[in-house]
Symmetry: C2
Subunit: 124 residues, 2 copies
């Protein structure tokens, strides 16, 4: 990474900051992670909701729509009754997953120490 790139990252309307902001919301990374970790190629709406017990229907919907807009997944509607909709990660999302897993593994290794540090500060 050269100096130009580094400096542009700090610019207010930097596209990198913009992209990271969109996937740094409450649910996006978790939805991508869930679509990947199950091993299933495609997942339905209800399946996702079962896997992420505490997400609301609304937030699952808007998260899926945003991820679709940014090209992280495809949404396929089957004209059946009852309706069937399947979500599938794109190659773009798959190329992001190693980085997500890297973060998760890091958090896993450091969670005990971090939580312990928080206690020390708040009880000081």
């Amino acid at each position: 990474m050269d100096r130009t790139i580094i400096e542009s990252t700090l610019f207010p309307d930097c596209p990198i900051r913009n992209i990271l902001a969109r996937i740094s919301d409450k649910w996006s990374l978790l939805v991508i992670y869930t679509l990947d970790k199950t091993g299933k190629e495609k997942m339905r709406f209800k399946e996702l909701q079962r896997e992420i017990p505490d997400i609301s229907q609304k937030m699952l919907t808007v998260t899926l729509r945003t991820l679709e807009e940014d090209g992280y997944l495809t949404r396929t509607v089957y004209p059946e009754v009852p309706p069937r909709v399947e979500y599938k990660l794109t190659p773009r999302a798959h190329s992001l997953i190693p980085h997500i897993n890297g973060l998760i593994e890091w958090a896993l290794e450091n969670k005990d120490a971090i939580i312990n540090d928080r206690k020390k500060t708040s009880c000081a």
Copy 2:
């Protein structure tokens, strides 16, 4: 990563989700990144503010305090007039930085395609 860890990640009060949530706010990653990329070992409050032009004093303060609580940086106050305070990344933060840079590089490689996808959807 075994199955137990994967499943625990999806649990609502999962510590991993908790840790990622704290650094996924608007400024934390950018502050850590800035403290690292300058090459300076320590940085003062004003220096950070100059490097991140659009952060407010309040948000820089609370971000730094949160990062200190979680052990990402140390805050050293020198009893001088005028006051001098220096911020320095901890080894924990340094171990996180490769993952942040991984994300940034990924965003850099994909930003054009993502932004292009967004336009297509919104103008459809």
